[in-house]
């Protein structure tokens, strides 16, 4: 039985696990964007906070993912459901690229443009929504893209704590020394990563200011 036959026969299960995988990645990315973009904006406007925030996000990034899943396991409400825990861990990992790119994007807006916008009497909010965010959007999006690609890979490890996703096939394959099983998890995961990379990259180019 080759890989294609295997995939065809277990189509429903692979699809189910792919959707679980997408759910983990999608929810954690949205959370990371909801937290990371405002944080990035904050540190772009308040340079004093820049070092502690980026430093913190950096430290999280250096914790090995299995260790982080392990650390979080005994936490009361979180540990109840593996999925919650996986989403939190993935969100934490996704924060750094989102925060860093938001910061870089906003700081990268031409100072002459910001100055003249302020000089015309834009309020801080108008400046943010009409000038800074639109001009930084492609850089911010590229941070989100990096976060998604990292998450797709990391989410396979979430299966180790029983959170589901394509990692389940990989871990099962490892335990049973079955390469087909490993590939049946790894290949859809790779395609997910490539697809996310491509589509977000396309959006990013569309939004890049001339």
């Amino acid at each position: 039985m080759n890989l294609f036959q295997f995939l065809a026969q277990n189509f429903r299960q692979v699809l189910q696990l792919t959707l679980e995988h997408l759910w983990l990645v999608g929810v954690s990315t949205v959370l990371a964007a909801l937290i990371g973009i405002p944080l990035g904006i904050l540190i772009a406007h308040r340079p004093v906070l820049n070092r502690p925030v980026l430093g913190g996000a950096n430290i999280i990034q250096t914790i090995p993912s299995l260790a982080l899943f392990g650390f979080l396991l005994p936490v009361p409400w979180l540990g109840d459901r593996a999925e919650r825990l996986a989403i939190l861990a993935l969100t934490l990992y996704a924060l750094l690229p989102v925060i860093r790119n938001t910061f870089t994007g906003i700081r990268g807006v031409d100072p002459a443009v910001v100055e003249s916008a302020r000089g015309m009497g834009m309020t801080g909010r108008q400046l943010l929504w009409q000038v800074e965010l639109p001009l930084a959007m492609s850089v911010i999006l590229s941070g989100v893209r990096v976060a998604v690609v990292i998450s797709v890979g990391l989410a396979t490890i979430a299966a180790a704590i029983g959170a589901g996703g394509l990692g389940e096939l990989i871990f099962r394959g490892l335990a049973m020394v079955n390469n087909q099983l490993i590939l049946a998890g790894a290949i859809p995961a790779a395609f997910l990563a490539l697809f996310a990379d491509f589509s977000l990259g396309w959006l990013e180019r569309r939004l890049r200011p001339q």
Partner: protein
């Protein structure tokens, strides 16, 4: 103000006119200069002094040109007026009130601002760029559109340029958009920081000429920064000469050419040398 009554014998209509003006003056504080620097200093956080004890009045409807070499503090002076910078000493007054005592957003929307790098929003079309101040001020869309079209005509931009983006324009066209944008909400005061500095000589000449004819119609209070004496003499009602953060002197263009002030004379000499007229030095 009562003293004005004694200065001459007036006909009855003169008196009537003056009474109206007097009432106006009281209401709009027209007796105040449009902009006033009172003993203004500006220091950087590092303690470096950028401006020292600046005292200067800009009258309503005049074009005051601030002339000085690069680094002399011209841009700083301008940014103190719309409070992009805050004085570290003294007070800047606009229309009779300190700029620190009023809402800074309202202050800025009442002051047009044109900078050398133009600062057009790269993701806004020409039309949206020109309409920014009316738009953030909440004008209805049709009024913004009408005003934008009027302004494009006023500064000599063809209407088919409206949907273009700034990077699709020539330097001269961008600068015209910058001027139109500054005029959009019809502010009484216009700040211009080397607006024509980056243009080729012919385009600059065009824009200077159009600036003069616009100013003849609009009578804005203009503070115009340049390092170019030719531009200063051409556009100014008065020239304020700056050097190393200090105001050296304020002179009309005619006075400037005859001035015995060493720095002013040095500018005139350099200017004449540049035009090949230095052999005429001393004669008129």
């Amino acid at each position: 103000m009562a003293g004005a009554w004694k200065t001459s014998t007036w006909s009855r209509s003169d008196v009537a006119v003056n009474l109206i003006c007097w009432a106006d003056m009281n209401r709009d504080t027209r007796d105040e200069p449009a902009i006033e620097f009172r003993d203004v200093s500006y220091e950087l956080p590092s303690g470096q002094r950028v401006l020292s004890n600046l005292n200067l009045q800009v009258q309503r409807g005049e074009t005051l040109v601030v002339l000085g070499r690069s680094g002399s503090g011209k841009t700083t002076t301008l940014k103190l007026i719309n409070r992009l910078l805050r004085p570290t000493g003294g007070e800047v007054r606009v229309n009779g009130a300190g700029t620190g005592q009023r809402d800074v957003i309202r202050l800025r929307r009442g002051i047009g601002y044109v900078i050398q790098e133009i600062g057009l929003l790269p993701h806004f079309t020409v039309e949206r760029n020109i309409g920014i101040v009316p738009s953030i001020d909440g004008w209805p869309l049709d009024k913004i559109r009408a005003r934008t079209q009027e302004l494009m005509q006023m500064v000599g931009l063809e209407s088919q340029l409206a949907p273009r983006y700034p990077h699709q324009l020539s330097g001269g066209q961008r600068q015209r958009v910058g001027v139109a944008r500054a005029l959009a909400a019809d502010p009484a005061i216009l700040l211009m920081d080397e607006p024509f500095g980056a243009l080729d000589p012919l385009t600059r000449d065009d824009l200077q000429r159009e600036f003069l004819s616009l100013q003849q119609r609009l009578h804005k209070t203009v503070v115009f920064v340049t390092h170019d004496l030719n531009e200063a003499l051409r556009l100014a009602s008065r020239v304020a000469l700056m050097e190393a953060g200090e105001l050296i002197t304020v002179l009309s263009p005619q006075e400037f050419l005859r001035s015995t002030d060493p720095l002013a004379a040095a500018y005139v000499r350099a200017f004449r040398a540049g035009t090949g007229l230095d052999t005429n030095r001393g004669s008129s």
